[in-house]
């Protein structure tokens, strides 16, 4: 309990007879980055709104930092930072004034507010536009201002709904860096997104959401094992020996398939094993007299997992 910042049990949301969120169980640990992934309309935003007490719960329960968002929404909202998808600010106010209003809502003492606002804006690299009206801000700057609000709030949990949607690759990279920064200061982060390869790089654990249900949950590697089959793929490129024959003898190796065009006397091979066999494979090739030119760990891609999973889900349906 002490290590979970969010705990949902059988959390349910009905819109009429439609089950937008269908009895999900979810635990978010202290200090981790958790990714909520799923196609449009899967129910991610609905689940998030229930955690914040911003929409009614139809069944089940959820606790955030030990508080019930239905009965004690103020306690939850005091401690949780929320960045809605396509966040908006008051255009006629400056960045500083916008955060000052939030600071007053949070009842931050005036003596601290100014310093906390400036520090937060510096941490998201908006220090040089503090007194510009938000109307002039780009989408990426608005998202960063939303992160600054969470930093200023000194939230224990940050809930970010599609924080990277509509951002260019560079802005996405910067934003993910800021999310990592949140984690470094001990904040647990729950984020929903469609940008799978980006999410993969920051998330400790992910949940695949589909039609209101959590289809899969765990680390990216665990999901890959479940969906793509168990195994740990590596890439081996060597010259001068029969790579396939040499590697089939290594303990744990399940398959060795050529990757790309094979040249005479060498080439690249994709090796599937039930564990990380890079050390053993390197040793085998060298001792067999071959020259190892490349050895890489092939991370399973979340994109692959996602696509495959939803293909199968559609076929099953």
């Amino acid at each position: 309990m002490a290590d979970n910042v969010i705990e949902a049990r059988g959390l349910l949301k009905l819109y009429g007879s439609q089950r937008a969120v269908d009895a999900i169980d979810l635990e978010i640990h202290r200090g981790e980055i958790f990714g909520l992934l799923g196609p449009n309309g899967a129910g991610k935003t609905t689940a998030i709104l229930m955690m914040l007490g911003l929409t009614e719960i139809s069944g089940g329960s959820v606790e955030v930092l030990g508080f019930n968002p239905v009965r004690e929404p103020l306690e939850v909202k005091r401690r949780v930072g929320y960045l809605p998808d396509s966040v908006g600010f008051y255009d006629h106010l400056t960045a500083r004034e916008n955060l000052a209003y939030t600071a007053r809502l949070l009842d931050i003492p005036r003596s601290q507010a100014g310093r906390r606002i400036m520090e937060a804006l510096e941490s998201v690299k908006l220090a040089d536009v503090v007194d510009k009206r938000v109307a002039t801000f780009s989408r990426g700057m608005r998202q960063r201002l939303g992160i600054a609000e969470i930093v200023m709030k000194q939230a224990e949990v940050a809930i970010l709904d599609e924080p990277t949607s509509g951002l260019d690759p560079h802005a996405t990279f910067e934003l993910l860096e800021m999310i990592r920064g949140l984690k470094r200061t001990g904040v647990a982060v729950l984020l929903s997104s469609h940008l799978l390869d980006r999410v993969q790089s920051v998330c400790d654990r992910v949940a695949l959401f589909n039609k209101g249900k959590i289809a899969l949950m765990g680390t990216v590697v665990q999901l890959a094992n479940q969906v793509l089959g168990a195994g740990h793929p590596i890439l081996v490129e060597a010259q001068g020996i029969d790579v396939a024959a040499a590697l089939r003898g290594v303990e744990g190796v399940q398959s060795v398939v050529p990757e790309g065009p094979q040249e005479s006397g060498g080439g690249a091979w994709r090796v599937m094993a039930d564990r990380d066999v890079r050390a053993a494979a390197a040793q085998r090739i060298v001792s067999a007299g071959g020259s190892l030119t490349r050895l890489a760990d092939l991370q399973p891609s979340l994109e692959e997992v996602y696509t495959r999973y939803f293909q199968e889900a559609r076929h099953a349906a």
Partner: protein, 323 residues
């Protein structure tokens, strides 16, 4: 789980103050407020200017000369200042309130603000009170300007009782503004489009200004027998007509204001000759009697404001915050 079954922890007024302060400062610094002020000056200056002009030529000494600035209908304008205010106040209130909630929604600030520690109660009430305070500031300023102009042009100060009646008038005017502010905010909660909510508020205002008196009289005529058989019957029909008219905030405002600013007013409605027995026609009522007289319409206005706000509150509680 019905919301009513859930007990919420924490005060519903958490965060009320910052919302109120922001709303007030937003209004007072907005271009819209500037436009509304110009509008007030144009529409208020004409009747007041001409009324003062007429009053300067009055020879008989009138103990309530100052109040006449408000109530006299100058020949060249055909509109007394209080009649002008019957236009100005609703328009200002609607102008301040028609987009108060749906604009937050359209700017996508609503869910971000509501994810801070405050209840929707505080947001709605803070916005309402902010609008009401803005209205009050504008009305007090207007009132002071009229008073100052009277002082300059008539060359004599108002008596204490006139000032007291004038302050009573301010209270009535603010309550009247509150009714229309609550109407505008109710529509701003119901409709996502600001244009629709503005249109509906203005439509309702026109309805009460133009159509409702006609409808009320048509209904009353329908209940009128071809021949009255008793005086009781006559009284009943007259009272029906009056009760119908009083459903309109415009009528309530007019009654309350006339009762206050025309001290000679002895009754706001229908009166039988025998009720007048013993009264000296044309003699002004003392202030406390006038206050008793306007008490029903004033409480009517305040009650209407509270009911409308409550409806807006209930609708807002049920609304989804997501974009």
């Amino acid at each position: 789980m019905p919301r009513s079954a859930v007990r919420r922890a924490g005060s519903p007024f958490t965060g009320l103050r910052p919302v109120f302060m922001k709303e007030l400062s937003d209004h007072l610094s907005s271009v819209r407020m500037l436009v509304l002020t110009l509008f007030v000056i144009v529409f208020g200056a004409l009747p007041v200017g001409f009324a003062l002009n007429d009053l300067r030529n009055v020879v008989v000494s009138d103990p309530y000369l100052f109040l006449r600035i408000f109530t006299v209908t100058p020949e060249r304008v055909g509109l007394s200042f209080i009649e002008a205010l019957n236009f100005i106040i609703p328009l200002m209130a609607i102008g301040l309130g028609f987009d108060s909630i749906n604009s937050e929604f359209n700017r996508r600030t609503l869910s971000r603000v509501l994810s801070q520690p405050l209840y929707r109660d505080a947001l709605l009430l803070g916005k309402f009170l902010g609008g009401l305070a803005t209205l009050a500031v504008a009305l007090v300023a207007l009132w002071l300007i009229v008073l100052g102009a009277g002082l300059l042009l008539l060359g004599l100060p108002p008596r204490g009782v006139e000032v007291a009646r004038g302050i009573g008038f301010l209270v009535v005017a603010i309550a009247y503004g509150g009714v229309w502010l609550a109407v505008a905010m109710l529509f701003s909660v119901i409709f996502r489009s600001t244009a629709t909510s503005a249109l509906c508020s203005l439509g309702l205002w026109l309805f009460f200004l133009i159509l409702w008196p006609m409808i009320a009289s048509v209904i009353t005529v329908g209940f009128t027998p071809s021949q009255f058989t008793s005086i009781d019957q006559m009284v009943a029909v007259a009272e029906l007509g009056q009760a119908l008219e009083r459903l309109s905030p415009n009528i309530l405002f007019r009654e309350a204001v006339v009762g206050l600013l025309n001290p000679e007013t002895r009754s706001l409605g229908f009166m039988l000759p025998m009720q007048m027995r013993g009264a000296i026609p044309g003699a002004p009522l003392p202030l406390d009697q006038s206050l008793i007289l306007i008490w029903p319409p004033l409480t009517g206005l305040i009650a209407g404001m509270i009911v409308l706000f409550t409806v807006a509150y209930i609708v807002f509680q049920r609304e989804e915050v997501r974009a």
